[in-house]
Symmetry: C4
Subunit: 269 residues, 4 copies
């Protein structure tokens, strides 16, 4: 592996060196700008006024993302491992839609392009990789995932039963036209969101609704109890190391690792 490739890999994939940090921050700024552009384009008044500026900015960002994508492929020994990884696909989907839009452009297709652009938002997710604190959070969440899913499953069942009941009691007077809609209302109520677009009007319906609300208020304690317990158990020392193997792109290495624990490649020369 040539020296320039190794150095490029360190800059692009890691955040330990000054250059690597600058690269990450620069990329973060471009991503935030691109997301802001997608948002602003969706506002009709802004789109009418600055259509040309949006078009130019879109071109510039697309080119930056394309260069970054090519660099990521070049700087790694096994490009397939990057291309078919989650972030590899997200990176491709961040540039491809724009090119498709530019080639098959037209008033009708414009909306569809904007829809594809949405996926670029996922790029922002990469930032969390760089924040050490998030690792411990993720660990606590992963450990309590099964229990939270069981809990949320119970919540959904309560909503299905209560929703069917509310449909029978309220019927169409309160807007509980059908069971799926009533279940939607139950979820809105049990999670204590409470939009108010649908609300019970009969005394019995309101009585049942009170039960649903008190249940929702009482059982919110369950996921909290789980996460608190799991979080207390999670290790105190989050791994802040951002070392990435230039051969196979494995990201989790011990702080004093010299060789990749997965492919045996030398991490630092």
């Amino acid at each position: 592996m040539p020296q320039w490739k190794r150095q490029l890999h360190e800059v692009i994939y890691e955040a330990d060196t000054p250059l690597g940090k600058i690269f990450d921050i620069g990329l973060l700024i471009v991503i935030i700008i691109s997301v802001a552009l997608v948002m602003m384009e969706s506002v009709d008044t802004l789109l009418d006024k600055y259509a040309r500026e949006f078009y130019i900015a879109e071109w510039i960002i697309t080119i930056i993302f394309t260069i970054e994508y090519i660099l990521r492929i070049i700087s790694i020994n096994k490009p397939k491992r990057y291309i078919f990884s989650f972030y590899g696909i997200v990176d491709l989907l961040s540039t491809l839609p724009s090119y498709i839009g530019f080639i098959f452009g037209g008033a009708n297709l414009l909306f569809a392009i904007r829809a594809l652009r949405l996926l670029r938002v996922f790029r922002v997710l990469k930032i969390t990789r760089y924040i050490g604190e998030s690792r411990r959070l993720m660990l606590a969440l992963r450990n309590s995932r099964a229990k939270i899913l069981v809990f949320l499953f119970a919540v959904v069942i309560i909503c299905i039963i209560a929703g069917t009941l509310m449909h029978l009691i309220e019927g169409e007077t309160g807007g509980f036209d059908n069971i799926p809609l009533s279940i939607y209302w139950c979820i809105v109520t049990l999670t204590t969101v409470g939009f108010g677009d649908i609300a019970p009007v009969t005394p019995l319906g309101r009585f049942i609704a009170s039960f649903i609300m008190i249940t929702g208020y009482g059982i919110i304690a369950v996921p909290t109890g789980i996460v608190t317990s799991e979080y207390g158990r999670a290790t105190d020392k989050p791994i802040r190391n951002t070392q990435v193997c230039p051969n196979c792109n494995e990201t989790r290495h011990l702080d004093n690792a010299q060789f990749c624990h997965r492919c045996g490649y030398l991490l630092n020369e």
Copy 2:
């Protein structure tokens, strides 16, 4: 007890053997489909379009549930213990309404039948029996049940007092027509649901409402504190054993149990 009966019991009531797992998953799929059908039938546009398809699907599911119900009775030594258990009654109520509907069918009775069908939803509850994680959750909830009930009782008393007060302050201007309605509004507010169909309009009413909201926001901590404490105490090893006694249907057995701790029947031959 003949060998085939014992094996049938194992397949139907337990989930330890491959066949038992397949049976449970198959049953789960049928239950989900039947629940989805009840939901879809309640949507008028779908009912008008696919009335015949719904009728046929209903027949098929009813027959499947009937066969399952008969098998459950056959494969157990003391059928009465199953028939009069909670799930036995739920199973009966999952099939009986359909037959009653088919026999005494008619436009007017159709709605009543659909109402009875609701109970089939409860069948879904059985799934939770098969998930090991839920046992520990249930244990923590059961241990903190008394405390949570005391807390919810206090919440209801606060709502009754605050509701009466709001009725006197707001009267009919803000929609607080009578005390039960005002109590309903208080529950909506204290549990932080907040539909907005009823909302205070007088300055004093809004001032009291602010107090109710801040109280609700502050005391939500109480059930959470209880569950967290109890959950931390709950045993770490949930019982994942699904062994069911073929004689008396007792479900809770120690992992290495050879005889039912209740009736002394041999569990595995």
Copy 3:
């Protein structure tokens, strides 16, 4: 102190003997009926229909409460300690308004009487005295009271600042007519109630509102953390003893107490 007085005291003030339990349950039922009557009377349609029945029921309940009040005074050595205690005043206020209503009756005064009746609701609070579990809850709440008040005080300050800001940004377009109203809206939003009768409409107002909501969602963790910590520390053995000193009405005694720790009076002969 004569024997009959001591026994009467035990029946009325305590719940350790079978007779005492029957008395408490009977009283509880009467209280619930009286509260239900106050609620039902506030519903106009019910009042028009059953005005006479409500009047008779009111008389019966008032007489029961009056007899109970007299018995409570008779059965204690130092009646003043009961009369001027919190529950003594509540008991008096549960009967007096009815008599005043009956004497100075009239269409106009009817509403005022109903207002006074509200206080009878407080009688229900006495029930919680009889539930052992609530003691530990109260202890945890009392220990964390100071911290929760500091937290709620911080919440109120955030609401005042954010409310003033929202009034300046939104003005009267979004319904933020004046600062008190905007503060009310902030409390509604920060506590995640969200009625929706007032909602920001300007982009900047919505941006600030988003911050308020995320703050409210994030800091709800604070009271929870406090109560969980305090609850874990609260003693595991709640005092279930309902012994009340027949001389001075002191309620908190150790399980094996023979003499009142306050006045030295013999508790059980």
Copy 4:
């Protein structure tokens, strides 16, 4: 440092002496009155009626605050450290706007003045300095700040992605006119506020909304778990000492400190 200056410093900046306590309580009352006045002035009906009274009260409060500001500068050795501290700037901004308003007065400027007055509200924040309990709360919050920010950042990202999705699904039928508005709606929903001014109307939109709500209901456990863990670790003995160095205004001193740990100045003569 003259004795009178040292004593004045103790009265104004500290709360250990009886005079210091009286000064703080008096100031607190004036602050509360001034905040109440700002609120009441914003209510049009009150402003029309009591315009002159508000004007006079404003003058009195401004003069009190001015005297306090001058005393604070006089009684300290290094006035610059106070003037450019957070509270020094807040104190200045509490008086300056009133003077500017009085000099450049006029109907049009009246609103702008009121806007500047808002900052006086921040003065209330100083009260929390005097409450010992708040220190431990602040410590727990400061320790969990990084983790809560990571969590809230994740919440914002979820809202951006879900908001874009909802805009594409619902479009303008449900009021999801553009992406920023849809993100605002997502924040309203995920934080379980739920105003209801914007609500999904399409079946698919409601399905996605259900997911957002259940997510919001489930992950509220995360900040709670963090704060509970951190709060449990925070030291049990909050520092109740209000000793302030008369030379450099450092506020955190150990209970038995004789010299300022920062500038070495003698704390008590």
